[in-house]
Amino acid sequence: MAVSSPPAVATAPKADREPGAGFNWAAVLFMAPAALFLAVFLAFPAVYTVALSFNRARRGEFTEWVGLDNWIRLFTEDPNFLRLGFPPSGALWNNVLWLVFYVSLCVLLGLVIAVVATRVRYEAFIKALVFVPQAIAAASIAIMWRFIYSPDAETGLMNSILGIFNVGPVSLLGSPDTVNWALIAVGVWSSVGFTTVILSAAIKGISSEVLEAARVDGANETQIFWRIIVPMVSLPISVVAVTLVVNVIKLFDLIYVMTLGGPGAASRVIAFSMYQEAFPAGQFGYGATIAVVMLLLLIPVMFFNIRRFRAEAVQQ
């Protein structure tokens, strides 16, 4: 009902107007400022970037049309971006690792902490504790963890602890085998507070009658967690997951401060490659190509998000 009625209302006053005025000028006027800003700051740069990706683009201007050269080079000749093989590597693959492990660990840990915290009296304290990293700037987090991971046991917390057990010193950021995992761990540490707080609020919204009914029916706590709590907070989980996915695709600051994409190019991610190629290397066309790849990856996520918002609007 709600969906079909507005057009009916809208057609009635239109009939009273002069012929030919089938266009709502007031609406255009009100939308114009927003549309203008979107056109100037979003649509134009996006189109410009796509066009740049087919150009050599010296100084970021259109200088020489190169067709698909940038695209072919990116996917077939640039091992720092994508190297197929076993195991695959490159910036794109690193983003896949982030996507799988960072998103799932953040959601899972957030959920577990939220459920466990609701059962203790010092819940507020626990939530405040895990939320603290959210209040720290990403660059500060990166510098903090660079100290923690330092192979020098005098400055590195991790290695001074390992030293007590006569292990190490190990250099997690110095080896291409461990660097991505070390960085993902920092990412999870910094984002778990966000997922905990959102999911905790959602769990509180589950009516206690549902949980009591389940207990009366003989469900144990594991069953309640997987069969009752998780399904009932599935919508907030998907909201959180989508936010985290967007975070991963945009990821830059942590990498830039902690490793500069190194050792070598082992910890590069897409956004870092874009920066590296466009600015220090001055290949704006090539950098634009990577930017377009990021855009293409984000579109399905956004599409999913908008679809869900529409669905919610209809439900209400």
Binding site: E77, Q283, Y286
Partner: protein, 440 residues
């Protein structure tokens, strides 16, 4: 806004073209400074990435310039992301008047982007200044047969740093050939110390290692070819060089913190491992600038004044009997981004003995200008470095700075340090280098 940002560089480019045209006319008249060159506003901005003692020494040169010409010269330091900031300023239509560009790859890229003013447009012709420099120095600033920049400072990259006092305690002496260096490494271990400090987290410290060793082993001609568009990284000479460095010398037991520790150690920290108040290793190979850093605020200011006893260097040895008198060096090139009379005056000033002398007194650089008296260098370490460069049989510019932007030689060498199989990596690198030369 976006539209205006696009117009600005175009406008700037048009202005520059206009200025270029005039400049050439003036040059053709043979009147020295081109007549058509736009009159400057009495001040210039020079950017570079130096801070600390290096900055102070350079500001003294700028002051000398102001005193002589009355033109104000302001120094702007961009310590990190130098190329990024410079590119953004150029794109925004607001370039600095003069930029000191680290790396010839960057110089070529900026020149081909059309962002640099050729020296001839400023009324400075190569033949007029050629006599001030050792042969080959000016070639470094040439892109597509046009002189765009002039090398203003350099450092030897054939120096191995150590502490004479601690060497005496251990009863060891500097090495003169590769066998001697391997023996020295063993002797230091036998004395209960760790031989080598390595700042391998900064990939360029490894490229310096590779360049000097390659030059010594295979000679200047092979070196020139390798770092040109004709270079072949899959050539056996590359693998041989890697085997010598990473197979014989810089192996797990010889390096402070082991290979993994070295890969996580930054360049200044590595200098600290040898020269801080609590040293953990004995040898550091790096450019002549290591002396200034080791005795500076970042590492150990107490060392200043103890040159020759607590800190000294010995020349990088010959490798397998070859490479006597061959030296690699690194340096920065100055280029103009704005064409006006003030900039022309500054560029001209920087080619004079006076500017070289003033700068040399600061003790952070070796001046490429031949008539600078080595007596003006404030410490014996720098005097010796200047003599090493001027008396060398042949000097070769830092090869990784000659490569086009993109392929990461440092990363490749980090893999070699980790002991990875280099065959496929070198093939991959060759492909990247080929693409990068084509893309320039």
């Amino acid at each position: 806004m976006r539209k205006f940002r696009l117009i600005a560089p175009v406008m700037a480019f048009v202005l520059v073209l206009a200025a270029c045209g005039n400049g050439e006319d003036g040059g053709a008249d043979g009147t020295g400074a081109p007549e058509g060159l736009e009159e400057g506003d009495g001040s210039i901005v020079v950017t570079s990435l130096w801070g600390g003692a290096e900055e102070e020494a350079f500001v003294a040169v700028l002051d000398a310039f102001t005193e002589e010409t009355g033109i104000e010269a302001e120094y702007e330091a961009n310590r990190t992301d130098y190329a990024t900031v410079l590119r953004t300023r150029i794109q925004g239509g607001n370039p600095p008047d003069v930029a000191i560009i680290p790396g010839i790859g960057f110089l070529r890229s900026f020149a081909r982007d059309g962002s640099l003013i050729p020296m001839s447009d400023l009324g400075i012709n190569r033949e007029d200044i050629e006599g001030n420099y050792a042969s080959g120095i000016l070639d470094v600033g040439v892109v597509d047969d046009e002189l765009y920049g002039v090398m203003v400072k350099l450092n030897s990259k054939a120096t191995i740093w150590y502490s004479p006092e601690r060497f005496e305690e251990m009863g060891v002496e500097p090495a003169e050939d590769w066998e001697g260096l391997l023996q020295l490494t063993e002797d230091i271990k036998a004395a209960g110390a760790t031989p080598w400090s390595l700042g391998a987290a900064d990939g360029w410290t490894l490229t310096d290692w590779f360049e000097i060793t390659y030059l010594k082993m295979h000679g200047a001609e092979a070196y020139d070819t390798l770092f040109s568009p004709e270079g072949d990284w899959t050539d056996a000479s590359v693998q041989e060089t890697l085997d010598v460095i990473f197979g014989e010398l810089l192996v797990e037991d010889n390096v402070d913190g082991g290979v993994d520790g070295a890969l996580a150690t930054a360049f200044v920290d590595a200098i600290g491992q040898v020269f801080s108040t609590s040293p953990s290793s004995e040898l550091y190979y790096g450019g002549g600038f290591v002396g200034g850093i080791a005795t500076g605020q970042d590492v150990n200011p107490d060392l200043a004044g103890q040159e020759g006893t607590a800190i000294d260097w010995f020349p990088f040895p010959t490798v397998n009997g070859s490479g006597e008198g061959l030296v690699t060096y690194g340096g920065d090139v100055m280029a103009a981004l704005v064409a006006d009379s003030d900039v022309a005056a500054f560029m001209e000033f920087m080619t004079t003995v006076e500017s070289g002398q003033t700068w040399a007194e600061g003790g952070t650089i070796i001046s490429p200008i031949v008539d600078v008296d080595t007596a003006v260098y404030p410490t014996t370490l720098i005097q010796a470095e200047a003599e090493q460069v001027t008396s060398a049989e042949a000097v070769r510019f830092d090869g990784s700075d000659l490569l086009p932007a993109g392929p990461d030689l440092g990363a490749l060498l980090q893999s070699a340090l980790r002991g990875e199989d280099m065959g496929s990596l070198l093939e991959e690198f060759q492909q990247q280098v080929t693409t990068a030369w084509e893309q320039e």
